[in-house]
């Protein structure tokens, strides 16, 4: 019965590819939906009905370049799908008319074809500059299959990794993962195979497996993309891991803010049970394992493994000191193995291609590929996957397409609130565990935020620290009170009330918090401050000594002025100002009343480019203008 699973699935997929009617794929992950994919979908459905067209619509996950969302790919009978970007409801009638009814390809709106080579006069979608340097192993199915259809996953050789694993002994599976060099993708980077071995060797019959899908770092969304695009990859990884360590019960801890993930995982586990891929006697073997879904409750700290386990057990999400480590004593005192979503999602590939093949990717010591959420001031934003060791330069300027609006690169922030920033001189650094740690940053779970000259590094440090302070569980003194004291200092500095001793205070506090905190949240909380102090000390000094923000971002240290020589008196800014701070007659230069101005920046955004009359100025410069 199991054997037929794959041939049946592959047959169905073949039928889909050779469908006699058009197939329309819609990028309907949360990013797509946020961009308006469901509105576009309704427009498509209505348009198809109006024209009495019989076409199939398939919701797929995110294929990577979120800045292109909503993405729609249309596959005409006998042809590969053609990808269209930034589709709006207004575009739909033209799209349906030209592509489906007329059979042309609207090449001006197309990004490329989903095929092995350029076709029909269009480039390959995956040859786009953002996608070409990427190596998509764990993301291989995202955006190409229906995440709620287990048949699609099976057609893509899904669960063959599990089949392979069940044909080996658990020890052999662990060895395979060790050879692959797979390191924890959640940030700590501990060898996955070694962690599995520790758990397997721990005494006790009852063992637990946990997949950490809490992904709390602001700016990181790679786990979401994977679970919304290819949930079975993660679940198959969990079953393989459970087999390897000898666990009979698994939990996937999904953060509260990912309802779509919950829905997809629920469907996926139901489908798995029906096909004998979960539950008793998996694939006919004598291995029993089942997965329960547990929902988080808006706490970043519950991404920390001991706090996560406390949360699963129904306790307050506060971390516990280690030792004992979860591998020997975790959930309810039993040996527990906990891995990040991406680590789990990589496991099936490792088993399918074999450890040595996986180890060929990446560099020595950091083998394989890693997903990153590329965001900030680059042109091409979204979820990417590159071999470890890829230089940051490549990611920012090739994959990311360079800076927007002709701005200058200043730094890239990695690892969220636990990470640090890498400045221009170090942009050649490769993304791997060791190099980034040496620079004071960490890889973390894969967030990359690119900054330009308009980003104030002090403010950025303050932002991340305020996040950490908010999310601190409150148990230990260095984190709960230390980060608060640091935030007090940073807030003073950004308000223009910095004192000469402040940098020394910050450095001392950083050391205390780093050495004294109980868990990773506190221990890494000083990182953003430490790296910005290391590479952008001049900005701190400007804030403290000159009371000036070099990026002109800190509101207390800058102000907006309308340059009278450039103002064309169009009254646009006057109309949009939320506090009515701008006065001036039509075709007369406008003036901002500084006492009313809240520095929201709307006037700067709205001023027509040909005028460009709104300037951001340092506060001393006020005297010069007047």
């Amino acid at each position: 019965m199991s054997e037929d699973m794959w041939s049946e699935a592959k047959g169905a997929w073949k039928a889909l590819m050779n469908s006699g009617k058009p197939v329309i794929y819609l990028g309907a992950a949360s990013c797509g939906r946020a961009a308006g994919a469901l509105v576009v979908k309704r427009a498509i459905q209505s348009e198809l009905k109006d024209h009495s067209i019989d076409a199939q619509i398939i919701d797929v996950g995110c294929i990577g370049p979120c800045f292109m969302e909503p993405l729609v790919y249309i596959q005409l009978p006998g042809e590969p799908p053609v990808v269209y970007n930034n589709v709006t409801a207004a575009d739909v009638p033209r799209l349906i008319q030209n592509v489906i009814i007329d059979g042309t390809h609207l090449k001006d709106k197309a990004v490329g074809v989903l095929a092995d080579a350029p076709k029909m006069g269009m480039p390959r979608f995956f040859d786009h500059p953002m996608l070409a340097p990427q190596v998509r192993l764990v993301l291989r199915n995202c955006g190409l299959i229906d995440p709620t259809n287990i048949g699609h996953y099976l057609a893509m050789d899904g669960y063959l990794g599990l089949k392979q694993a069940l044909a080996m002994t658990p020890e052999q599976v662990i060895e395979e993962v060790k050879i692959s060099g797979l390191r924890g993708r959640g940030g700590a980077g501990f060898s996955a195979g070694m962690k599995w071995k520790l758990c397997r060797d721990a005494p006790g019959e009852m063992k637990y497996l946990i997949c950490n899908a809490d992904e709390g770092n602001p700016g990181t969304f790679v786990n979401r993309i994977l679970l919304e695009g290819d949930p079975h990859a993660v679940l198959e990884g969990m079953v393989i891991a459970a087999y390897a360590i000898g666990a009979s019960q698994g939990f996937i801890y999904i953060r509260h803010e990912y309802p779509l993930v919950r829905e997809y995982v629920q469907k996926a586990t139901l489908d798995m049970r029906q096909l004998g891929l979960l539950g008793e006697n998996i694939m006919g073997s004598d291995f029993h394992f089942d997965i329960q879904i547990r929902r988080g409750a808006l706490a970043f700290v519950c991404g920390e493994e001991t706090a996560l386990m406390a949360s699963i057990m129904g306790h307050r999400g506060m971390p516990k000191p280690r030792p004992p480590f979860p591998a020997t004593s975790g959930l309810w005192g039993k040996p527990t193995n906990i891995n990040n979503t991406e680590t789990m999602g990589t496991v099936p590939s490792v088993l399918r291609m074999g450890g040595p093949s996986y180890a060929k990717y990446g560099i020595k010591g950091s083998s394989g590929t890693k997903t990153f959420s590329l965001g900030g001031k680059v042109k091409n934003t979204g979820c990417i996957e590159v071999p470890l060791g890829t230089p940051l330069k490549t990611i920012v300027f090739d994959i990311g397409g360079g800076m927007v609006e002709g701005k200058t690169f200043k730094a890239v922030q990695t690892g969220g609130p636990s990470g640090g920033c890498i400045p221009t001189p170090l942009i050649g650094t490769g993304v791997d565990y060791e190099q980034l740690t040496n620079l004071g940053a960490i890889m973390g779970s894969g967030g990359l935020i690119v900054m330009d000259e308009d980003n104030c590094m002090v403010d950025m440090a303050r932002y991340f620290l305020s996040f950490t302070q908010d999310e601190s569980c409150g148990k230990c003194v260095p984190c709960r009170i230390g980060t608060r004291r640091m935030l007090d200092v940073l807030e003073r500095i950004t308000r223009g009330e910095g004192e000469v001793d402040d940098l020394l205070r910050l450095e001392e506090l950083c050391e205390t918090i780093n050495k004294g905190s109980l868990c990773g949240l506190g221990q890494t909380a000083p990182n953003p401050i430490l790296t910005t102090l290391r590479y952008f000390r001049n900005e701190y000094e400007a804030h403290i000594i000159e009371k000036r923000c070099p990026a002109k971002a800190c509101k207390a240290l800058m102000h907006f002025e309308i340059l009278p020589d450039q103002c064309i008196g169009c009254e646009e800014c006057k109309g949009k100002c939320p506090t009515g701070a701008i006065t001036g007659e039509s075709k007369q230069p406008h003036v901002i009343d500084q006492k009313r101005c809240t520095k929201c920046g709307i006037c700067l955004q709205i001023c027509p480019p040909k005028a460009s009359a709104v300037a951001k100025l340092d506060n001393e410069a006020k005297e010069a203008i007047l």
Partner: protein
Amino acid sequence: MITINGKQYPFKAGQTVLEAATAAGVYIPTLCSHPHLTAFGACRLCLVQIDNVRGLPTACTIPLTDGMNIRTESEDIQRLRREIMLLTLSEHPYSCLVCKDKEMCVKYNSCTTKAGKITGCNLCSWKEGCEVRKVVDYLKIDEITYPIHYHDYPLERDEPFFDRDYNLCVLCGRCVRVCEDIRGIGAIAFLNRGHRTRIGTAFGMSNIEAGCVFCGACLDVCPTAALTGRATKWLAKTEKRTKTTCNFCGVGCAMVVEGRRETVMRAQADLDGPANKGQACVLGRFCIPPFFNAIGRLRYPLVRREGVLTPVSWEEALKAAANGLKQYDSGDVRIIISPQLTNETAYLLSRLAKEVLPGSLMELDSPFDSLALRTSRELLGHAGSSGTLTAINNAGSVLIVGADLRLDHSVLRVRINAAHRRGAKVIWLGPMQPGEDRLVDYHYPGTDYLDKLAGLLRKLAHDAHNFEGANEFLESLVAFKDSKESTELAKLVRGKSLCILVGKGVLTDHPEAVLTAAYNLIVLTRSPRGLILLLESNSQGISDVSGLPNAALEALPAAKAYYVTSGNAEVPQDAGFLVLQDIFESAMMDRADVVLPGTGMPEDTGTITSLEGRVQALDPIAQAPGMSKPDWWVVARLATQMGGSGFAYEKAEQVTEELFKATRVKSLGLIAKDSYALKLRSMQPINSAERAPSPNKHVHVHRGADIVYKVDDLRRLYTYWGVVE
């Protein structure tokens, strides 16, 4: 062997580094750890350096391994500890802690200002005990650069017994841990997170709504004055303290009481108390001073002259009492014994009854205790429980029948909680108060105790043929029916060691039969030490020294003259002569002919025996008011007055010595060598080497005698309506 700061110490498995260091006499500062609580690792002060361990781990959480090399102090560690303490202090009113006039202030500013909001040590009620001060002194902190951050939480003073000022709280979490882990109630927890983290009840409930029973365990572990006992915090300095035993219920919690001049001022649980191990209940913890210091204490011997109770000298009062009682035939005199009387008083009363008023009857003023003691004597061969309180800790299932553990025997909840956490099934028969359900796995609210227990016995009856009396036992079960509950109960109880706690609620439903059923249950489940009778105060001791009770209360004939030691006792209206010996005014005084003022627990010297048979000492801290005299003295002098001989005792210890030789207290196998009677009064722990080998593996070092009475095996089943001969 392990190494601490260069010196070698023996390795003991199962210890943490902090425990090992403390045992070795090496001081490591800490605010959040506590010997009775699980390690928490929150204050981060106990950081140490250990070879081959990354970073600076917390000594309280790291398990000790053989060969460990530990450094508890170094420049780096001290600096880090100081920085962490400065952070802690930045949110605790620290002005006085770093004031340059600190020492002069303590020396000369003797009067603590009684302020509402505490903004410095000079206004705080707990300078002496504050652990923050201790750590500040150890780290020699004399300067803080952070501005004070005062949370300005409202002071919580709406509820009885203790105040809560969370502006002083250092979030050590001890109160949360003791309430949740040890008491099993969990009324308070950590709330919010980040800078707004604080301790409190869920959803803004009051403590009462949250299930708090005001046991004071949180106060006792709080390192600051965040939690303070309202009645005692502003009292003048205590002058003396001693260890005694609480007599409010039968558990026998060892307490440390403090006094000033002749008054008892404060009571706290004794950490080493064998029955209670540092835990107490609201009665023992907070109610001893207000109760015994209340208005309404009897102060003078009173004799009724011309219808009016008149203060007289002791000589006159004793004469009046003696003469009054002697007017009647001994057989018409009834002595009513309050469960709160000490062993010494009860012993002397029983001697008085036998020697001076032969034929007089004694009764124990507690219907349940009388019945339970009598019935257990028939069933077990001795009156009392069949085992000690460790039966609860070791049980696989705990069956609680007809009890109210909120105000009576409340400390037993701690043991039940420990058993529950270990996996024991807790089953409650009878009405249950709200808030008690956290401990209970299965609740059967009905008061049909006999039906439930009999139904359970029916399910276990297949085993009965192994025991004597099986046939009659099985026959007697025919009258009862099977039910869904009995099937459930059987599943919970079968195959595990059972502990049954029987309380006075069973008086409403064939109590003798219920007790017999409970006894049969421990026989059938082969848990011979599992029957615990929830007796009051010193009922067990009174029974041991006097042989009480000899007959059912209802079976006693009416008497004509009464010598009553409890103001609540039931005395018929037509009683001829009434001598009342008590400590409080009561309605009975309207009928009493003679009133003799006795003493209460903080004023008593003597011994009492808890419901598990543990004999513990009472050591006085206070002087009874007015002309009150110790109860044993009154009885002895009365007996002498009535012509008795051998009652000329000068000290309570003499009575103790005699009763240890003469009564069941010795014959039960309680190890009470003669020298013990003298040791009982001192605060020195008894040297365990002086004791005969105890079956207990743990060597307690405490004041009470050890319990070695063993019920090894019970081979006999009984029917419900009486003992089968």
